[in-house]
Symmetry: C2
Subunit: 149 residues, 2 copies
DNA sequence: CCCGAAAAGTTGTACCTACAACAATGCTGT
DNA sequence: ACAGCATTGTTGTAGGTACAACTTTTCGGG
């Protein structure tokens, strides 16, 4: 005869299993390390990530950034605005002044080189925090998502 | 004699290896699924996670929430405020009206039960997105961080 | 070519987040 | 008991994020 099932409360179930809970904590913990480490050059990890993405793929339109980076289009719009104003991205505009595409400027490219040492320190700290296995798992998981998008 | 090393640009290096890049994309993608799935009950995954954490550990002071959930104390302060105003958390206050500790109210507990079905749908969608292996890795990584904190 | 629908970008609004500066609380040694 | 210091919580400010509503652009079928 079947063994009586234990019925964990909603709280137990969510606390024990929730993926969002864990992803979000991880995101805050990891982002904080990069942001703090790169603060001396006045760049956030959010900004660096966008510049690197644009620099890697070349000229892109905002919607592709959103698709690949899982960002809502309005978020992309505002984030690009800041980087363009700072001269780190260069935009091709439509008649109505909408961003048709962006590319990394030379200044942007130099800026990425500038943050590299700090980025490396942060990356190393995070690897230590997650352990080699954890860090590897995280990269694999991210790549899987990136290649799917 | 040693083989000449290829020198990837800063862009290549960061794009290929950055853990923050991947964690943050994952965080947005995952959070969006939970938020959209639970929108009909008017709760965000952020709120549910805090309620569940408080419900699980019982009466806690804000600083512990921050420590365990990797949230800055000011963030905790504001997030608790909302849940208290909504009657989902109950606060013990100091003379100066500062929050000494919070606990889950009965209404809060019921609310968690209410979102459970939607939470399960979201959880299932995310598991599908990450695959069983990926989801497992994510939970392990999160637990590791939680137990260390 | 043109019309209508779909896709893409922007703006208003609101929530989540963090840092800095400040205020209140708690603790420790004498 | 209490003076000084460390911890804890709040508020000002600013960036990151998403949804809804709107505008502009693009794209396909007549």
């Amino acid at each position: 005869m079947p063994i009586a099932q234990r019925h964990p409360s909603a709280i137990e179930e969510i606390a024990n299993d929730c993926i969002a809970f864990r992803v979000r904590i991880l995101g805050r913990a990891v982002s904080a390390i990069y942001d703090q480490t790169m603060a001396n050059v006045g760049m956030s990890i959010s900004q660096v990530n966008i510049m690197v993405f644009v620099g890697k793929v070349g000229r892109v339109n905002p919607s592709l950034i959103g698709a690949k980076m899982a960002m809502e289009k309005s978020t992309v719009s505002r984030n690009l605005k800041g980087l363009i104003d700072d001269g780190l991205l260069e935009a091709e505009l439509s008649d109505g002044d909408r961003i048709k595409s962006v590319g990394l400027t030379e200044e942007g490219r130099r800026r990425v080189e500038t943050v590299l040492p700090d980025w490396r320190r942060a990356q190393s700290l995070v690897k230590k925090m997650l352990g080699p296995t954890g860090a590897g798992a995280m990269v694999d998981l991210g790549n899987q998502l990136l290649h799917k998008a």
